[in-house]
Amino acid sequence: MPTADEISKILGASGPDIVPASAPFGSCPLPIFDHKRIVLGHGSGGKLTADLIEKVFLPAFRNPTLDKMDDQAVLKIGNLRLAFTTDSFVVTPIFFPGGDIGRLAIHGTVNDLAMSGARPLYLSAAFILEEGLAVDDLRRVVESMRAAAAEAGVQLVTGDTKVVNRGKGDQIFITTTGIGIIENDVNISADQARPGDKIILSGTIGDHGMTIMSQREGLEFEGAIESDCASLNELVITMLSTSASTQRRDFIHTMRDPTRGGVATTLNELAKRANVGIVIDQRSIPVRESVKGACEVLGLDPLYVANEGKLLAFVVPEMADDVLDRMRQHPLGSNAAIIGEVVDTHPGMVLMKTEIGGTRVLDVMFGEQLPRIC
């Protein structure tokens, strides 16, 4: 790999984006292309985000737990295993079909915990409110959080409120933390994935992201798209109790909820984390007609669109059909499908069999997916 100087020479222009690796936290062996400023793409959950984490956050805070890079940290305290997570919610608009920022905050946090097989127990919520926000809007959000917490069976036990000047806060930001307990015979994380595992998707994809996108100026779609925002902990309990007779609970190796960046990005993260290959079949992936239509019009791929009430599970092959049946009996899993499997070839890479029988690589998203005309 050429040095930053060599690259600069080749590229000629003094583009602002070429900065040699400055190293406040220690030296880095590879030259880095850094953005000098944060751009929106850094928050999209794709390559830019991963880049930022890898180059700015991880070097500063390195430790074994953080390095696992799961959505939740699993902490051993005495005989107890705690799942611990944090999340921030900045969505605009704050109210949308199928939910609002409050509902999203509760379900999003609960899901991060549930993906490790934990029983979510307690949440905290810190609010950053923009001067001028209508108190009625805040009440609506808070009431929504109350209802969502009741749905999920968790309690909000501590919180904080700050107010920032008008123009500095986009109405409302919510930051949460969550704690849950993982029972001893449950061991679910990204690095547990094994070749042969079947990949189950719990339902239709792209509902949440297309709902948000459709609320943006000029992209309105009439009816039929709403967010799938929901807590998945009950569904996970149902899945874990598939084998009531044997009490076996080790048949789910990995779970993750495909939020921003979509199913494609999440599968890539898992493939790289576990160093396994993944193959999926495009024709088996459930997509609502409305979401499909919206994606076709804007030139977007549902596989990269965010979801807020879906999960991916890697399940041992001999139990996959039974787990699928259990899921389909639950309202949040009624459209569940086996979409692919984990393989030992092409580790770190996700391949997809396309609609017409071809095969292609499913890569990670770079920044935001934008509507295109080409």
Partner: protein, 384 residues
């Protein structure tokens, strides 16, 4: 979805491929003109499905890719101005100029807005009478009717705070430039389906005749592309060279008269510079003088920018079908969609970007292990 899903049928696709295989007696090089067709080919792995004798090379049909660096720098200079609302299709947001892209400008406080349709700019201009609203009007002929309507309505409604930065390009002169270039290997074309929905395909008859090349106007779904390829191969094998229409459910030879009429009222044909290729005479649209007050290039003083193209970039050769992305030493190493060096990597439709996105960068310089792995998998199943 009607008129889409049925053109993605895998069984029929396999049958068309087989028909191509039976028709082929020698190798042929066919160029698909449109970036959207390139995208469809690479996304669906159609070039992997085709028999080895059919080589698909990718054409310059990506308006984002071929927008000259000077024009992008002008757009960025305008977007940076205070009091300007800069509107653009999503495709242009990440295209780097000499100094950053529209996203960067947005992060520094520029009012940059993504629009899906040019008509939204009318709404924005009406709502912000004290601001200058500028729309980046790029595209081939397909987008010209929409851009023309925007300018027309701006004048009708006297929206004097609304202007367009026009960078329109035309397909037929580009085809001629490709066919004229020394070293040209292209023997037949899949013509641009949506461009021809607007313009018809009368203009392609003289090209087909003069250069003796088949031109099959083709759609974008996998079955369209495969059928278009079959029709092209059939012509080549029988020594014919005419213009045919595969996309007949959408267009006919005359195209859309109403659109052509408004385009002619608003635009005049002139020379245009194509990034990676150079200036092609009479290959683009410029706003007519009577629309000068809506011409951002005249309204804003954005002269004097000297853009710098990376020397290593070979996108000119790729746009003319002379080279493939993995022939370029920078492909997937120095040059990626995250850090594009040139035209064909900047846009999702560009050949380099398409190749990269669909995983063709596993080994540059020819050998493609993914292709190998797919072939091996298929052999295993075929032999079961």
């Amino acid at each position: 979805m009607k008129y889409l899903d049925e053109y993605r049928d895998g069984k029929i696709a396999a049958q068309i491929v087989d028909q191509i295989r039976r028709t082929l007696t020698r190798p042929w090089v066919v160029m698909e003109v449109c970036g959207g067709q390139t995208h469809s080919i690479v996304k669906n792995g159609i070039d992997y499905l085709l028999p080895a004798g059919v080589e698909l090379v990718h054409g310059p049909g990506c308006p984002v890719c071929v927008t000259p660096l000077e024009m992008i720098d002008k757009a960025h200079a305008i977007a940076r101005l205070p009091n300007v609302i800069f509107c653009s299709f999503g495709d242009m947001l990440r295209v780097p100029g000499s100094d950053g892209d529209l996203f960067t400008i947005k992060s520094l406080g520029g009012d940059v807005r993504v629009v899906y349709s040019p008509l939204e700019c009318l709404k924005i201009a009406r709502a912000n009478p004290q601001k200058q609203v500028v729309f980046f009007a790029i595209g081939f002929e397909t987008t010209a009717p929409a851009n023309a309507m925007l300018v027309w309505r701006a004048r009708e409604e006297s929206l004097n705070n609304l202007s367009l930065l026009v960078s329109h390009v035309l397909v037929p002169p580009a085809l001629e430039a490709i066919l004229d270039a020394p070293g040209n290997r292209v023997q037949g074309f899949l013509g641009p389906g949506h461009v021809c929905a607007v313009m018809g395909y009368r203009e392609y008859d003289p090209i087909s005749a003069r250069y003796h090349v088949p031109i099959v106007i083709t759609g974008f779904e996998p079955l369209d592309i495969l059928q278009g390829t079959l029709m092209t191969i059939q012509q080549l094998e029988s020594g014919r060279a005419t213009v045919e229409n595969q996309y007949s459910r959408i267009l006919d030879r005359e195209g859309n008269r109403a659109a052509q009429k408004l385009i002619a009222s608003v635009f005049k044909v002139g020379d245009r510079k194509w990034r990676g290729i150079g200036t092609i005479p009479m290959s683009g649209y410029h706003l007519r003088d009577e629309f000068s007050r809506h011409d951002a290039e005249k309204l804003f003083d954005v002269a004097g920018i000297a853009p710098l193209e990376p020397e290593i970039c070979i996108s000119g050769q790729i746009l003319r079908g002379l080279k493939k992305p993995h022939d370029c030493p920078a492909f997937a190493t120095l040059c990626t969609p995250q850090r594009p060096l040139g035209a064909t990597m900047v846009s999702a439709e560009g050949a380099c970007a398409a190749y990269y996105t669909y995983g063709r960068h596993l080994s540059p310089h020819g050998f493609d292990p993914l292709h190998q792995a797919i072939r091996e998998t298929e052999n295993v199943h075929a032999n079961r």
